[in-house]
Amino acid sequence: MTTASPTADTVNSIEHDSATVSATEQHVSHEATLFAEPIFTIQNFTVTNALLTSWVAVGCIIILSLLIRRKIQTVPRGIQNVAEALLSGATNLADSITGSPEKTARFMPIVFPLFVFILINNWLGLLPGVGTIGFIETHGQESAFVPLFRGGTADLNLTLALAIVTVVLTHIFGVIATGAWSHLNRFVSFNVLLEIPKEIFVKKNFAAILINPIKFFVGLIETVGELAKVASLSFRLFGNIFAGEVLLGTMAALFAYILPTPFMFLEVMVGFIQAMIFAILVLMFLTVLTTEHEHEASPSH
C-alpha cells in the first residue's frame, strides 16, 4: 500500500514500503528518501541520521586504530596480523597502480583511510537496526517513519564531501609534484598558445596555427573533466549504496525471512567493491596528476 508523501521533500523519494498501521488510524509512511533525515539540531547545525552513522564509523575506526596501536609487536599477533595483511595487500595493489613505491608511500596515508572509511560506512548501513530503528514524525495528518541511523554513504553529502576533498588533494599533490605552472598548463595550456609564434617563425611549423588552439581547448575539456570526476565519484558511490538499501528494503517488504539474505551478501560485496573502486580511482587520479604533463615532458612537441 502506498501512502501520500507528507512534505514537498518526499516528492522525489522512492516509496518501497508503505505499510500503514496506526492505533490512531494515521498513515505512517516508510519511505527510502534520497536524502538523510534530520534527527536533532545543535544550535543551527542539523545532525542527520547519515551523519550519526558516519560518527559511529569514525568511532569504530578510532577504537580499531587504538587497539592496533596498543597491540603492535615485533612478532605480529591477532589484530595486528589482520591489519598488516590488509595494509600489505593494499600497498601491493597500490604499487601496481602507481608503478612507484615512493608514490605509493606518499598516497597511501590518504587512500587507505579513504577505503576504510567508505567500507565501514557501507557495511554499517547493512547492520540490523540501521534504517529500521527510529521514530515516527508527524506533520499534520501525515506521519512518517524516520530511521535513527542511515548508511553514511547513502547520503550524497558524505560522498560529495569525500569526492571534493580527494579531487582537491589530487591537485595539491599535482602542484607539489610537477610545479604550479606545469599543473596549470595541464588544464589551461598557456604554453601551447605562447609557442605558436615560435612554431611559425622559427620552426616554420604552420600547422601549429590549427593544432595548438585545439590543444588549448583539450586542456579546457580536462578542466570540465575535473568537475566530472567529483560528480562521478560521488554519485557512483551514493547510487550504488542507496540502491542497495532500497533493494534490501524491497526484499524485506516482500518477504522478511530468508529472501533478503542473498541480497545482503550481495550488498556486502557491493560495499567492498565500491569502497575499492573509489579508492583506486582516487589513487589513479593522484598518479596521473603527479606525473609530468606530456607536453612538458616532451619538448619536441
Binding site: D9, N12, L34, F35, A36, N44, F45, T46, T48, L51, S54, W55, A57, V58, I61, I62, L64, S65, L66, I68, R69, I72, Q73, T74, P76, Q80, A83, E84, L87, S88, M108, P109, I110, F112, P113, L114, V116, F117, G152, D155, L156, N157, L158, L160, A161, L162, I164, V165
Partner: protein, 167 residues
C-alpha cells in the same frame, strides 16, 4: 544545480562535517595505525634483511673456517707424515749407527779377547813349557838317578804325558 541541491539536501554544514569526519579518520588512522604499522613492518623487513645478510656472512665465514680447518688438518697430516718419515729415517740411521757401534764394540771386544786369549795361551804355553821342562828335567833326573825298568819307564812316560795333557 539547485534542484540537485534541494533533492539531495546538500548543505555546506553537512559537507564540512563529513569532511571533518574524513580528516579525523585520516589523522587517526595515519597516527595510530598506518604509521606505527608501517614502522613495525619496515623494521621487521630491515631486521629480516639484516638477518639474511648476517646468515649469508655467517655461512661464508663458516665455509671459510671449514676450508681453513680442512687446510690446517691436511697441513697437520702432511707435517705428521713428514715427522713420522723423518723419525723413521732418523731411527733407521740411529739404528744403523748403534748397530755399527755395537759391531765395532763387539769387534773390539773380540779383538781384545783374542789378544787376551793369545796372551793367556802364550802364557799357558810358556808356563806349560816351563812346567814340561821342569817335568822333563825331573824325569830326566829321575831317569838319571835310578835305573828304571821298562815297565817303570813306560809308567813314567805315561805320567809325564798325563801331566802334559792336563796342562
Amino acid at each position: 544545480m539547485e534542484s540537485i541541491v534541494s533533492t539531495f539536501h546538500i548543505n555546506w554544514a553537512s559537507l564540512i562535517a563529513q569532511m571533518v569526519n574524513f580528516a579525523l579518520v585520516v589523522g587517526v588512522l595515519w597516527y595510530f595505525a598506518f604509521k606505527p604499522l608501517s614502522k613495525a613492518m619496515d623494521a621487521r623487513s630491515k631486521h629480516i634483511e639484516q638477518s639474511l645478510k648476517d646468515a649469508e656472512a655467517i655461512t661464508q665465514k663458516l665455509e671459510a673456517t671449514n676450508a681453513e680447518s680442512n687446510r690446517i688438518v691436511i697441513e697437520a697430516k702432511q707435517q705428521a707424515d713428514q715427522i713420522i718419515k723423518d723419525a723413521r729415517v732418523l731411527a733407521e740411521s740411529q739404528k744403523e749407527q748403534a748397530l755399527a757401534k755395537v759391531k765395532e764394540q763387539s769387534a773390539s771386544i773380540v779383538a781384545a779377547s783374542k789378544v787376551q786369549i793369545e796372551q793367556l795361551k802364550n802364557q799357558a804355553v810358556a808356563q806349560a813349557s816351563a812346567e814340561l821342562g821342569e817335568i822333563v828335567a825331573q824325569a830326566a833326573g829321575a831317569v838319571i838317578s835310578q835305573k828304571l825298568s821298562s815297565e817303570a819307564d813306560r809308567k813314567m812316560i805315561e805320567k809325564v804325558l798325563e801331566q802334559a795333557k792336563r796342562l
